[in-house]
């Protein structure tokens, strides 16, 4: 089920219409949820049992499956944020749906990026002996995290819904445009100082079963992303509905209060 199927297509302005479902779960998402669980079970089986230990990295290599899966999905999520921001800014496709997509995707991207950095640090401690090293890729990833935490902080500032959406869309696009420049600068910085000391993956040989486990991880994380997105979007839609509804209820109550005074 696509996340937009339950959204009422709304024009840029006006109060949000009542969502067609008043729960974040439907049968489709429950089935999807079960699929996600199965995929992670499958991943656990392959990652922990079937795939072999690495000769050099020992069992630490098993972190790789979570690490690669989560970084893949977080890059995809930030890509979705950038596209949705552009679609919101383009007048012909302007809709608050895109704003919600951008926000939800950025939140999930930040979550997965945290998982990436945590699993990466633990893996680094196990194999390199340090939690962190100023490798170009590590530094870029850390900056990406701060960049999108800033984006989420900007989104969290309250104010007029439309104004907030436009501001967030501009910030989302600028952040995305900045990533290649940051990447280039940091790559130069590290290569001018010293050659790359570490490689995340041995380029030449990776065991077939390991590669397959990485593939399983990608599927599992991608499914989890879709599941989280649908739920987050529905929550956002309901939040907005509640906000608008809450105001209507308050006005109605206030009017009812005033009634006896005007009619003697």
């Amino acid at each position: 089920m696509s996340p937009t199927a339950t959204m009422s297509p709304e024009p840029g302005s006006g109060s949000p219409r009542r969502p067609s479902v008043l729960s974040t779960g439907t049968r489709a998402t429950r089935i999807l949820g079960i699929l996600v669980l199965l995929a992670f079970g499958w991943l656990a089986l392959f990652g922990l049992v079937f795939s072999p230990r690495d000769e050099v990295q020992k069992d630490w290599v098993r972190f790789l499956y979570l690490h690669v899966g989560s970084i893949f999905v977080s890059y995809m999520a930030f890509g979705v944020t950038a596209c949705a921001s552009a679609l919101y800014l383009w007048k012909r496709t302007r809709s608050l749906v895109w704003d919600r997509v951008a926000g939800a995707s950025a939140e999930i991207g930040v979550l997965f990026l945290c998982i990436t950095l945590m699993t990466g640090s633990l893996w680094g401690k196990g194999t390199w002996g340090v939690y962190w090293t100023w490798d170009a890729r590590l530094t870029t990833t850390a900056l990406l995290l701060v960049l999108f935490i800033g984006y989420l902080a900007l989104r969290a500032v309250d104010g007029d819904r439309e104004v907030r959406a436009k501001r967030a869309a501009i910030a989302g696009l600028v952040a995305a445009a900045d990533i290649p420049i940051v990447n280039q600068a940091i790559n130069w910085w590290r290569t001018l100082h010293q050659g790359r000391t570490f490689r995340i993956l041995g380029e030449a040989t990776i065991d077939g079963l390991m590669l397959f486990s990485v593939f399983v991880a990608l599927i599992a994380f991608a499914l989890l992303y879709v599941w989280l997105m649908i739920h987050r979007l529905r929550v956002a839609q309901m939040e907005e509905y509640l906000e608008a509804k809450g105001l209507e209820v308050a006005i109605a109550e206030r009017l009812a209060e005033a009634d006896p005074v005007t009619t003697p």
Partner: protein, 228 residues
């Protein structure tokens, strides 16, 4: 367009000339940061001198934050933003004008700070590196001013702008800090074995950054100005 740009820039500079906030508050703050670095790093062992390009540009970054905040504080007070919208000036010209005024102010602060670094940290500029250092400073200042003005407009009018702006702006400015520091290291010869020619690719990166933010800011400023 050019007339609008000059008007806005002259307005901002005139306000600064009369209020003297940057000269009486931000410049002394910058000096204080230079002194703090000396407390943090042992001044006797030459660490300050070898790290001076980085310390100089980190200080410039802090100063830019204050300057950007000031640049938009004067618009928010007394409903300046609404007046700007009513004035019928082109949004792109307002953006460029404000960025120009900011760049001029930053340039003055950078000259003062550089004098501070020379006096306090014992840094000296060799004749061969002058062109590189100047090119770096000019392109970096344009980048700082344009990115700062864009983000200043983004955060202006928010109640949390003072805490939000550093979080938004500093990650964006990372390439500038990296570029300036490396180029200055080459120009000043603080790292042994770094030829001056190593600095020029960084200047190219700074030019790219300045171009991206000048264009991006000029396009985005109109929509940003609309929502007061």
């Amino acid at each position: 367009m050019w007339r609008d740009l000059r008007l806005v820039a002259a307005k901002d500079l005139r306000i600064e000339q009369r209020s003297r906030v940057l000269t009486t508050q931000v410049a002394p703050f910058a000096l204080m940061v230079l002194i703090l670095f000396a407390f943090a790093l042992d001044p006797d062992r030459g660490i300050l001198e070898s790290a001076s390009p980085g310390l100089f540009w980190v200080t410039v970054l802090f100063v830019s934050l204050s300057a950007v905040q000031r640049s938009f504080a004067i618009e928010v007070a007394d409903g300046g933003r609404d007046l700007l919208r009513l004035s019928g000036l082109e949004p792109a010209a307002i953006f460029l004008g404000k960025a120009l005024a900011l760049a001029v102010q930053l340039a003055v602060l950078e000259v003062l700070l550089f004098a501070g670094v020379v006096v306090l940290y014992g840094t000296d500029l060799k004749a061969g590196g002058v062109a590189l250092a100047l090119a770096t400073a000019v392109t970096a200042t344009i980048g700082l001013a344009t990115a700062g003005t864009l983000y200043g407009a983004l955060a202006a009018g928010l109640r949390v702008r003072d805490t939000l702006l550093p979080l938004l702006l500093l990650p964006i400015l990372t390439p500038v800090l990296l570029g300036c520091t490396r180029a200055f290291e080459a120009a000043l010869g603080t790292t042994v074995g770094t030829p001056i020619s190593d600095g020029w690719p960084w200047v190219a990166l700074l030019v790219l950054f300045a171009l991206v933010y000048t264009a991006g800011g000029a396009v985005a400023f109109g929509p940003l100005l609309e929502d007061a």
